[in-house]
């Protein structure tokens, strides 16, 4: 592909010869995809490798905000989400840090074993379902590799002059990435290796509910569940969590779930029937409705659609309990229906 001088950032339309452009028969909304090159690779801690990704022609990358993540797409069947952990001010480089997961389904092994400096990888996004909402004070809680989205959040909180604290737990000190960098923040950061101090003392860290504080948590499922429990008495909307795997039990049908139901796409004027065993997302895609999707496990939030009428059976791990209860949005990849018909804004 020729690279155009018109490129304001990677992903901007390159000026190929128009003769080479194949007009797609069906118009599609897609997420930005671009091939980036590994420009730097560092071992940050035991089992944690950090990659610096750049555009091969040196173009600036699209803007993002703290909490954003990208998909690495080595091939169509291997899509993994990683939080951006560098500075949003650095528009030339995206940084990710990846823990080698012994139960890897291929994602972390690929990054650790195959992505050497100079190698190219397809990247999709960024997108952000964990945005840093403006507040005077933040409590950040990270478990293990869940530290990654917290780093740009800390930079932004500092820049805005907000008060913040970070509690960072991990198995042992040697496995915890960025501990050295975080030391510069002094007492605002509490490093909590499990082999030295046990599990994070959540009641001690969180204290009593405050209405000037937002809580941001990213880490393994047991930590997320524990923080959700500990924040039960906090104001609605105070707790923000990021999951990279489906919440246990989230995929269970609610009482009254329909096996088969009708979905009406209001804007495009298309109606489909979703049978048992097929997702709303698949059926809409087959019907030619342009839908965005990525993880297809109810985790990444890409396929969120506004619900105009009907009651979804929420089976995702993105929306909070309050958000689910409003029944005005759903994740098309996993959620189904409690009513015979859903009307969605597509």
């Amino acid at each position: 592909m020729n690279v155009s001088p018109t490129a304001t950032f990677a992903g901007f339309v390159a000026a190929e010869k128009l003769a080479d452009v194949v007009s797609t028969p069906k118009f599609e909304v897609e997420e930005l995809e671009t091939d980036l090159v590994v420009a730097g690779r560092d071992i940050l801690a035991e089992g944690v490798v950090a990659l610096s990704l750049v555009d091969p022609t040196g173009r600036p990358l699209p803007e993002w905000t703290p909490g954003a993540h990208v998909d690495l797409v080595p091939n169509a069947s291997l899509v993994r989400q990683y939080s951006l952990c560098g500075s949003p001010a650095d528009t030339g480089t995206w940084r990710i840090a990846v823990l080698r997961d012994p139960q890897s389904r291929g994602g972390s092994d690929f990054v650790h074993d195959k992505l050497h400096v100079g190698f190219s990888v397809r990247v999709r996004g960024p997108r952000n379902h964990f945005p840093l909402v403006s507040a005077p004070r933040y409590q950040f809680i990270a478990g293990g590799i869940g530290i990654t989205p917290m780093l740009p959040m800390i930079e932004a909180a500092e820049a805005a002059g907000a008060a913040w604290q970070l509690a960072y737990g991990g198995r042992k000190r040697a496995s915890m990435a960025f501990v050295g960098d975080l030391a510069a923040h002094g007492e605002r950061v509490t490093i909590w290796p499990q082999d030295e101090r046990g599990l994070l003392d959540l009641p001690g860290i969180l204290g009593s509910a405050r209405d000037d504080t937002l809580v941001y948590c990213c880490g393994p499922e047991p930590l997320l569940s524990a923080v959700e429990g500990a924040c039960a008495s906090w104001p609605a909307g105070a707790l923000h969590v990021e999951r990279f795997a489906a919440k246990p039990g989230a995929d269970q049908p609610a009482p009254g779930a329909r096996d088969s139901f009708e979905v009406i796409c209001q804007r495009s004027g298309i109606t489909v029937t979703v049978p048992a065993g097929r997702s709303v997302f698949e059926v809409l895609e087959d019907a030619g409705v342009s839908v965005l999707g990525s993880c297809l496990e109810g985790v990444c939030g890409t396929c969120e659609a506004a619900v105009i009428d009907g009651t979804p059976d929420h089976r995702d791990s993105v929306l909070s309990a309050e958000e689910q209860a409003r029944n005005d949005a759903m994740m098309l990849c996993v959620s189904r229906s409690l009513s015979d018909r859903l009307v969605i804004d597509l």
């Binding site: 001088p5 490129a7 339309v13 000026a15 003769a19 452009v21 005077p136 932004a156 506004a306």
Partner: protein, 358 residues
């Protein structure tokens, strides 16, 4: 209508040639701002309102590096601190006006009117069409009596071209085909459409010098880069191995909810050694811009932005809807609401459910 523009964003305050040795007063995002250039070439932006009686500092004068109020002669340094009061020996403690972060990337002077500390986390976007490398550009600045989103939404859906600009539409193209792709990231939206082969419009023939005895393929593409800037390009495949591209870069800076500064630049990547081509394209694009502004102002005068945004959506609105989503998210995170709430009610602004100070 309440302001619907994110503040944590670099906006264009002026073109470089507007900021000279004099004082330029301008309202940007509801704030009075005075811009001036120091002898070193550096641009300064201060609140255009004396801390004493609120007289506009842009009606004063420069004395060396100090800005002197034209009312009682208070002097301000480039950081906005009061450096002298003629009627008394000492300066009252802590007297100052706000100074705004500024960055100049010709042809634009960019300003940050948001939370001051956050300016360091962002940069004004690179605009290679305007840097002179392989491109020639010119521009026009107007004040549009309309909400800034009406300007963005106009340029995000160019299916208006045959109706609004019939003279500039390639003959035989009664309508623009649907978009091929809309590509979204967290903060940007890019759209493209490929046009079926058609004859050259007069302006295209005159600018490119291509023979009129055949039909040409074209592609139109655009990118919403931020709430401050939108770029689009019109490419003609010359069939001679050359791609003739005409780009329009629209810097969109709200003055108030119903008024918008529009700094448009017109760039082209061919016939760079022929000044007449540039002049011709400038004249055509300036005419097109006047027609665009007339449409946008008519919508503001009748429906207003909220009325316009509550209209029905068509397939061609895919880019518009993605941009509304991005802007709603930016507004929500700035005001301390969760974006999820904003996403689902983009047309109204309900009271935040969990109001937070700051």
């Amino acid at each position: 209508m309440t302001p619907n523009y994110p503040r944590d964003c670099w906006y264009v305050a002026a073109t470089s040639d507007e900021v000279g040795s004099g004082l330029l007063g301008r309202t940007l995002l509801d704030r009075p701002v005075v811009l001036y250039r120091l002898a070193s070439g550096e641009v300064v932006a201060l609140e255009d309102r004396c801390a004493h009686r609120g007289y506009p500092l842009s009606r004063g004068r420069l004395d060396g590096g100090l800005l002197v109020c034209g009312y009682h002669g208070l002097r301000y340094d480039t950081a906005g601190a009061c450096a002298g009061v003629p009627s008394q020996p000492n300066v009252p403690y802590g007297v100052r006006v706000r100074a705004y972060p500024v960055r100049e990337q010709p042809p634009f002077v960019w300003i940050w009117l948001g939370q001051p500390g956050r300016s360091s986390l962002h940069s004004p976007p690179a605009l290679p069409w305007l840097s002179g490398d392989g491109w020639s550009s010119s521009g026009t600045t107007v004040c549009v009596a309309a909400n800034y989103m009406l300007v963005h939404e106009h340029y995000l859906d160019l299916t208006h071209i045959p109706e609004v600009h019939p003279e500039e539409t390639p003959p035989g193209l009664e309508q623009l085909p649907p978009l091929d792709h809309v590509s979204v990231s967290e903060m940007s939206v890019t759209y493209t459409r490929t046009l079926p082969p058609a004859d050259l419009a007069d302006w295209e023939a005159e600018a490119t010098g291509l023979p009129r005895d055949r039909e040409y393929k074209r592609r139109h593409h655009g990118t919403f880069i931020s709430p401050a800037i939108l770029a689009e390009g019109w490419q003609i495949d010359g069939g001679d191995g050359q791609l003739y591209e005409q780009a329009r870069i629209h810097a969109v800076t709200p003055e108030s909810p119903a008024r918008t500064h529009l700094f448009s630049r017109f760039a082209h990547n061919f016939a760079l050694d022929r000044a007449l081509v540039g002049q011709h394209l400038h004249a055509v694009m300036a005419k097109v811009m006047r027609e665009d502004v007339a449409v946008i102002e008519a919508i503001e005068a009748t429906a207003g932005y909220e009325g316009s945004a509550s209209g029905i959506h068509l397939t061609a609105d895919a880019g518009v809807l993605q941009v509304r989503r991005i802007v709603a998210r930016m507004l929500a995170t700035e005001t301390g609401r969760t974006p999820a709430e904003a996403d689902r009610a983009p047309r109204s602004a309900p009271a935040p459910k969990t109001a937070r100070p700051g």
